[in-house]
């Protein structure tokens, strides 16, 4: 089976600029999580190096969202270890605050704050968490809004923007905290087809800047263009892990083959 991209325009990225360091950014060891009695994540082991881009794929309900939500403690794991930037996630609230201010997250449904303008969305955390003066926060926000190419929308409310614009604002909002790691949970799956590309382009640029990224996505063009590794999850476990080329052209497990044949529409 060969890989073909049927959903998005061909994407290219300059991979030479995206170097991976030796430093460990995220270390997950034998992590387990239950929702009540439902064992949603089973013995997850995953090490992410600084600058690495990881794409997580898998059928719906396989625990992809839960896994990346554990990384910034939106969900609590029950056994095993998660260490982010050298800080272990425990019940210690200080550690959680520290990790959250270093890890940015972008959601499927954007989750912008509808009662604040785009600019206020972006400056909120820098002002209230980083304690920056408003002027400086505004400057940073405008810088990142320019980066995602919507500085002219700064004074509108999120409800006045298109889905693609909203998602780019959400990315800018996360970047304003100048995180060292970014998590993306299906950032394009709530978007109309013509808006997917603008968001993916933003994400590719981010990857070229050397950001450590974990993306749950089914955009295989994006995975091909920027990922170092593709991780395939099913039933709460990591089933397969490989470079994008190997993953798409030479999948090993039956589950992976089945999944790829479904999403690639053969």
């Amino acid at each position: 089976m060969t890989y073909s991209d049927n959903s998005t325009a061909r994407m290219t990225a300059d991979r030479s600029a995206m170097s991976v360091g030796d430093e460990v950014a995220i270390d997950i060891v034998k992590m387990n999580k239950w929702f009540g009695t439902f064992h949603v994540l089973r013995d997850i082991d995953l090490t992410v190096r600084r600058g690495e881009r990881i794409v997580i794929a898998g059928p719906s309900g396989s625990g992809k969202s839960t896994l990346i939500r554990c990384i910034n403690r939106l969900e609590e794991h029950q056994s095993g270890r998660i260490v982010v930037d050298g800080v272990e996630l425990t019940h210690d609230l200080k550690n959680i605050d520290k990790v959250r201010s270093e890890v940015g997250m972008v959601f499927q449904h954007f989750n912008l704050f509808p009662h604040l303008t785009v600019l206020e969305n972006c400056t909120l955390a820098p002002i209230w968490v980083r304690k920056l003066p408003r002027r400086q926060a505004d400057e940073i926000a405008m810088r990142y809004l320019e980066k995602v190419r919507i500085p002219e929308q700064a004074h509108k409310y999120p409800g006045q923007l298109s889905g693609g614009q909203q998602q780019r604002v959400a990315i800018a909002r996360s970047l304003c905290m100048e995180p060292r790691i970014m998590l993306f949970d299906e950032p394009t799956s709530a978007l109309d087809p013509e808006m997917i590309k603008e968001v993916l382009d933003t994400m590719i640029e981010l990857a070229q800047d050397g950001m450590t990224m974990i993306c749950v996505t089914h955009e295989m063009g994006f995975a091909q263009a920027v990922a170092n590794r593709v991780i395939f999850m099913d039933q709460g476990q990591i089933v397969e892990q490989n470079s994008p080329r190997e993953f798409f052209n030479n999948p090993q497990s039956e589950r992976t083959k089945l999944f790829l044949s479904q999403i690639l529409g053969h």
Binding site: N72, G104, M105, H115, A125
Partner: protein
């Protein structure tokens, strides 16, 4: 170009169509009538039934109002006048009662020489509210502030306030208005202090009483601020310092300060409060205090901490399960058993506490509805950005939840305000029953039945309707999601 055969012949539009006005039938009075009143048989019949009912009501009540008499000083005189003018058997309203006794409806048995005090307190209330309620529109704020300032001063003068008071009032109002316009943050602080000023104006006595109580609160906040890095411990320390101050030091400090700098107004008895003075005092206090209390209860009820949550649930369900009158009886009778003998715990204060607790339970449920309407993603996004619980609530959750709850909140406010008439059952002079009965019990106004109700009802309506309009204005102002 030709538009025919669009379905059968391949078609490419050459020129785009310009926007056109709607056809005439879609607009105008005739269209409106046809669409809203006479669209079909049932609708037409209902329209005529409605018109008939309106006509019947009008025909029934209008003569009574048309025959009404304003310049009579007793029921008997009024009746004679009506018979003289409109013949034997004509009925009419004796609104002379309102003209003669309006002051009792408004102030109860508050001494007339001191009327300027509740009046100025009432109008100054709007200056206190301006930095909170009217921040969005400068024009509206100017109207409210302007009318309130002029009324506070002019009516105080009319009611014979002493000259030194008038001078203080004038200077105070000017400074306050400048603050509201140019230093809104400072004006907010003045708004927080205002309740203490209002208490002093209404009840009188030495100003140092309320002032030292305020000092306790400031002291507590200062301790909290100084120790803020210790988190919850700082709150407890601040609270402890404030309570200690109030318990041991504040009354002595008030006496000493009064000796140093005597500044007092004649003392008023709570039993003398009545009419709308009473209703507004209780209503406004309960409204202002029940909102923050309701927010705290609503948050507590959503809390993950079982004890906090349990307490909130029990409190809310208990209060909502008991009629307000029961709570008022508790306030007037039972509390006396629990308090050490000889303590003079003001009856109005007791009633205010009970009405506040009652209102805050309902407020909590209204706000909980608002909280529940927010998608979980808002909490997650705020959490993912590193906002802690209180910042998340204050900056993200509550602004949205309160906005959604505005109709419910204002509905609760209106309910509370009208419920203040229930204080009649603990022997206070509410405007609707106790006071009306008292006036009816006099020789002159025996037999006046509708007039007091109409007058009080009208004032209640004006006050409640204003609140309701304000809520609609606020909703309009805060409409931001453009969906």
């Amino acid at each position: 170009m030709s538009e025919v055969h669009a379905e059968t012949v391949p078609f490419v539009r050459g020129t785009m169509l310009p926007e056109a006005p709607p056809p005439a039938a879609e607009r105008g009075a005739i269209h409106w009538l046809r669409a809203n009143l006479f669209s079909g048989w049932v609708n037409t019949i209902l329209t005529f039934v409605g018109l008939f009912v309106l006509w019947w009501l009008f025909q029934h009540f209008y003569p009574w109002f048309r025959h009404s008499v304003w310049n009579a000083s007793s029921m008997a005189e009024c009746r004679t006048l009506i018979t003289e003018r409109w013949g034997e058997g004509a009925g009419g309203g004796c609104f002379g009662l309102v003209r003669e006794r309006w002051n009792q409806f408004l102030f109860g048995f508050y001494p007339p020489a001191e009327y300027w005090r509740p009046i100025s307190a009432f109008w100054l209330l709007f200056l206190a509210l301006a930095p909170v309620l009217f921040t969005e529109s400068r024009k509206l704020r100017w109207i409210v502030v302007g009318v309130a300032s002029v009324m506070a001063f002019a009516l105080s003068m009319l009611m014979g306030a002493p000259d030194p008071v008038l001078i203080c009032l004038a200077v105070g109002i000017v400074l306050w208005v400048v603050l509201i316009e140019y230093i809104p943050r400072a004006a907010l602080i003045v708004s927080v202090i205002f309740p203490f000023l209002a208490v002093w104006l209404l009840w009188g006595g030495s100003i140092w009483g309320p002032a030292t109580i305020l000092a306790g609160a400031v002291l507590g906040l200062a301790v909290w601020g100084a120790l803020s890095r210790f988190g919850a411990l700082a709150v407890l320390a601040g609270l402890a310092v404030a309570v200690l101050w109030w318990w041991f030091l504040s009354s002595q400090a008030a006496i000493d300060l009064q000796r140093l700098l005597p500044l007092e107004l004649p003392k008023m008895e709570s039993r003398g409060f009545g009419g709308f003075l009473l209703a507004i005092t209780i209503g406004v206090s309960a409204i202002v205090m029940s909102l923050p209390l309701g927010i705290i209860l609503a948050l507590a009820r959503q809390s993950d901490l079982p004890i906090v949550k349990g307490f909130a649930v029990i409190f809310i369900e208990f209060i909502r399960g008991v009629p307000l009158i029961t709570l008022l009886f508790v306030a007037s009778l039972l509390l006396n058993y629990f308090l050490p003998p000889g303590t003079n715990f003001d009856i109005i204060l007791r009633v205010i506490i009970m009405v506040t607790l009652f209102a805050s339970a309902y407020m909590a449920e209204v706000i909980r509805g608002g909280l529940a309407s927010l998608p979980r993603g808002q909490y997650e996004a705020a959490g993912a950005l590193g906002l802690n619980y209180w910042k998340m609530q204050r900056l993200i959750i509550l602004p949205q939840a309160l906005k959604v709850s505005i109709p419910g909140i204002v509905g609760t406010f209106i309910g509370v305000f009208k419920d203040t008439t229930l204080v009649t059952f603990v022997g206070l002079f509410d405007p609707l029953k106790q006071l009306a009965d008292t006036i009816r019990a006099t020789f002159e106004w025996k037999g006046a039945y509708w007039e007091p109700y109409i007058f009080s009802g009208l004032i209640f309506f004006i006050l409640c309707f204003s609140m309701s309009r304000y809520s609609m204005y606020l909703e309009q102002r805060l409409k931001r999601d453009h969906r």
